[in-house]
């Protein structure tokens, strides 16, 4: 790949802690290689800030290969930046050109309070899973794995939904801060499998109740979530979720 270097202007959200009101700070960054990842550009900037005796920018990240769901930057008005089906950590600087200005903010949602700078609290997602995002099977209870064949198409679809990385970009993109895409991915993953059947009704009801309790907004079908989801979770899942919810409400017996 051909590569080049560039100079950029970064406007980054700085917020000392959850009670600070926060503000944008502007940084000029120089000699950034197009081969760097977006987070490596932040590494370079942070090294410089430390050398200058300033506080580096806090941001979440771990795997840096698009799978852990930890990175979470809102880049020029779009969660995870400009590339399709991509996480912040997979974004590379060849997406930009010399002289660009890039605005970087944390996820914005009432249910994801800012902890510091670009770091937010997404534990609400864990609590939604606690409400029912599982199959109740204790270790040791399982039957032979091949005793229940599952149609390949169904298994593949369940997998596509299980691929959600719990990053929260869907919430950050949504003007209502709705968590429906995330919840629908988990409900679909488990509802599509025979193993998930026994708890199908209680699961959807309890997960939605928890989602509401956490203060996530309702879904008005704008599709912003699907457009930014790094794992291409389909918005048709939300229809499935609504369907499951209605069915469960009609017939729930426990």
């Amino acid at each position: 790949m051909e590569h080049h270097t560039m100079n950029l202007t970064l406007k980054v959200w700085r917020q000392k802690n959850s009670s600070d009101s926060g503000h944008f700070e502007t940084y000029d960054v120089k000699d950034i290689s197009s081969e760097m990842s977006f987070l490596e550009m932040f590494d370079v900037l942070n090294e410089r800030l430390i050398a200058e005796g300033k506080d580096p920018i806090a941001f979440d990240h771990d795997c840096r290969e698009g799978i852990c769901g930890m990175c979470s930057m809102y880049i020029n008005g779009r969660p995870h930046g400009p590339w399709h089906a991509n996480t912040t950590c997979q974004l590379h600087m060849r997406a930009y050109k010399d002289g660009d200005t890039i605005v970087v903010e944390p996820w914005r949602a009432k249910s994801f309070p800012v902890i510091k700078d670009l770091v937010v609290d997404r534990t609400a997602f864990d609590r939604i899973i606690q409400a029912g995002g599982y199959i109740s099977v204790n270790t040791g209870n399982a039957v032979d794995a091949n005793s229940i064949p599952i149609e390949k198409d169904k298994a593949d679809l369940a997998f596509a939904n299980a691929a959600c990385i719990g990053c929260g970009a869907c919430v950050a993109a949504c003007k209502n801060s709705s968590a429906m895409l995330f919840v629908s991915a988990k409900v679909s993953h488990l509802a599509l499998l025979p193993q998930g059947d026994p708890e199908r009704k209680s699961r959807v009801i309890n997960m939605i109740a928890q989602m509401d309790k956490e203060g996530f907004g309702g879904c008005t079908n704008t599709g912003a979530c699907e457009a930014v989801c790094p794992k291409e979770i389909s918005i048709t899942n939300i229809a499935r979720l609504n369907n499951e919810y209605i069915k469960a409400g009609l017939t729930v017996d426990k």
Partner: protein, 657 residues
């Protein structure tokens, strides 16, 4: 003498015998027993869920914002199990044997056999939890092969197997959280073990959001804190993976087993520049279908597609006809290094080889066309169908490659080079997964136990889940059954006070250095020393130099480090400093261990000990042991040996030719 407590009797009866005779804890007593688990990767999450289900009171810790983000999430290729669903001759014995041989006869027979025995249960458990493994059209589970084996026993979920397994374990864990059996502490980092009367009885953890230190009591402490590949700075591990939990245990008396045994994975995306923060693996499963080659001509600068077939050197197929591209990782990595060092490397750095999918696309394309009844398909048709098959099998890996390099691997061969990937070494544990410190256990990659000097692909996921789901639930009872009368010890106990103070003092010391250099710069320098002198090839002179250089680096670190910010707040630089300080000490021990082991075995290649053909040469007479190191004082370790006895898998020169 180290006692591994391996049960007597024939190899294939040991685990059954153990389970039938170990002490049990009754349900009422379990509720009174508290267990601390550090880490929520496959090992930690499966242990926390299973122990919670049994009724123990569990506290689980991780440094990420959610237990679902543990580094296990990144595992790509698959998980082994001796199911023999493919009817291709697999069995518990064969999995055991492949693992022992793959590990170059430096692992314990008893442990490895147990691992092979429980492997099948893991797949059952995961499927029951809803883990969507790949399936065939008939609805049954699909398998693929991995390096170092000749059967298809690897279960997978596209290139996201670790993610799917971890989500399964995470969901089981969250279910126990909901039921109140497990209390989860995320964004917490364990910084020391609390010892009372010679037993591990708790931990000191730092809340990474507030910076406050916390004391937690446990009747037992399980370290499931992962591997230490990041001692090399650049590795395929997640950025946060670190040795701190294991190192603190080591400082409290736990022996460190075979620290120099590291795995360099042959197929990773090569380094692109100084800014590089980590390396990305291209799953070993790609070697199933991809072919590895370099030009036959030195320094060939033509584009790969311009190099005709007869001018390509498929060096793995040439050197190892029996296993070809599927030789074990250590062998494949060294072979790539050999070609690049000899001047045949490709790409701008010349430190890369090609992994080529053109043939596979053609082969699959022809197969599909034939299945669809397309007669005399055009090359375009073949290609189109072939690309689709490859996409389904490896699509996410190909996408990942393109995002990083900007090149389309369906069009041009991928460039790959070996990178640090996994650490076979770790805390020494006995058969029950207990370290030599009573009440302190190590599971998953954090222990040294099952992979000897080289881990086979798809075996780490198997081991992590075996330890957590199927081993620790038995073995911990054997220990805790003696503790049913021990009431929870209040954290006002002097040992907690003193340990917390020691942790606080160290943090203060780090913050007060107020030097000029960043943590990152020290970590990079450490990584370079380790990679150059304790990496893919090692020799006595280099290791001795490395030890000196690391000691020097340590001095500089403690006198010239700069950490911005404060203590009682979120401070990632401080977190990193804590970890890098431990990596530096570990680096020294790794070099000492590598120097001591004057033989080549598995991933440990001592240049002084090789065959005429450049293969690793073991020295069973002198080194058929586990090196377990006891820390005696700063920079001072004592070696304890656990001799390895092979009653069933008789050591032979490993050959994949």
């Amino acid at each position: 003498m180290l006692n591994a407590k391996i049960p007597g009797g024939p190899l294939d009866q040991k685990w059954t015998y153990y389970k039938g005779h170990c002490n049990l804890v009754n349900p009422a007593n379990k509720r009174k027993l508290e267990v601390i688990i550090i880490g929520t990767g496959l090992a930690g999450a499966s242990a926390a869920a299973s122990l919670g289900e049994l009724g123990y009171k569990v506290k689980a810790f991780c440094f990420q914002d959610s237990p679902r983000r543990a580094h296990s999430i990144a595992a790509q290729g698959g998980i082994n199990a001796a199911k023999n669903y493919q009817n291709d001759g697999d069995s518990v014995f064969r999995l055991f044997y492949d693992t022992i041989k793959g590990g170059d006869y430096r692992a314990r027979e008893g442990n490895v056999h147990r691992l092979a025995e429980v492997s099948a249960n893991i797949i059952d458990q995961c499927v029951a939890q809803g883990v969507p493994f790949a399936r065939e059209y008939g609805g049954l589970l699909s398998n693929r092969s991995f390096g170092g084996t000749q059967v298809q026993r690897t279960f997978y979920a596209a290139g996201q197997t670790g993610q799917q397994l971890l989500i399964g374990a995470y969901q089981a864990l969250e279910r126990q959280v909901a039921l109140g059996n497990v209390k989860m502490y995320s964004r917490h980092e364990m910084l020391d073990i609390v010892m009372i009367d010679g037993k591990a009885r708790g931990i000191i953890a730092r809340n990474l959001v507030t910076g406050e230190l916390e004391r937690h009591f446990g009747h037992a402490v399980l370290l499931c804190s992962g591997g230490y590949g990041n001692v090399f700075y650049l590795s395929t591990n997640a950025m946060g993976s670190n040795v701190t939990a294991a190192w603190k245990a080591h400082k409290k008396g736990a022996y460190f087993g075979n620290p120099c045994f590291t795995q360099i994975h042959p197929t990773c995306i090569p380094v692109s520049g100084d800014h590089q923060s980590k390396l990305t693996l291209m799953s070993e499963s790609l070697r199933n279908d991809g072919r590895i080659w370099v030009p036959k001509q030195k320094g060939d600068t033509r584009k790969p597609n311009e190099i005709p077939e007869e001018e390509r050197d498929y060096y793995l197929e040439r050197r190892y006809p029996a296993f070809g591209n599927l030789v074990p990782r250590d062998v494949a990595s060294r072979a790539a290094k050999e070609r690049c060092d000899a001047g045949y490397g490709v790409g701008s750095s010349r430190q890369a080889v090609y992994l080529d999918y053109a043939k596979a696309i053609e082969r699959y394309g022809l197969g599909e066309c034939s299945k669809l009844g397309i007669e005399d398909p055009t090359p375009e048709q073949v290609r189109e169908h072939g690309v689709n098959v490859v996409k389904e099998k490896y699509g996410n890996l190909f996408d990942m490659y393109e995002k990083i390099t900007g090149e389309n691997p369906y069009e041009v061969p991928m460039r790959i080079y070996p990178a640090v990937h996994y650490t076979m070494g770790g805390l020494w544990v006995d058969y029950e997964l207990m370290t030599n410190v009573p009440g302190l256990y190590a599971l998953g990659e954090a222990n040294f136990s099952d992979h000897g000097a080289n881990r086979l692909g798809a075996s780490a996921l198997m081991q992590g889940l075996a330890d957590g789901y199927f081993v620790i639930p038995y073995t911990i009872g054997n220990y805790l059954s003696n503790d049913i009368r021990t009431a929870a010890i209040p954290t006002s106990h002097q040992a907690f006070v003193d340990t917390e103070k020691a942790v606080q003092d160290r943090i203060d010391r780090l913050m007060n250095i107020k030097g000029a250099k960043t943590v990152e710069s020290f970590h990079k320098r450490l990584g370079k020393i380790m990679w150059d002198k304790c990496g893919m090839a090692r020799n006595a002179a280099g290791l001795q130099e490395a030890i000196e250089e690391i000691r020097q680096l340590k001095k500089e670190f403690w006198s010239n480090l700069r950490i911005p910010g404060g203590i009682k707040e979120m401070n990632p630089e401080l977190d990193k400093a804590n970890r890098v300080a431990d990596f530096i000490e570990l680096g020294e021990l790794m070099c000492i261990d590598a120097l001591q082991r004057n033989e080549s075995c598995g991933g440990h290649f001592r240049e002084e000990s090789q065959t005429e053909e450049g293969e690793a040469k073991r020295d069973d007479n002198n080194f058929q042991y586990v090196a377990a190191w006891e820390l005696k004082g700063e920079g001072n370790w004592e070696l304890h040996r656990e001799d390895l006895v092979f009653e069933v898998a008789k050591p032979s020169q490993r050959s994949y030719k």
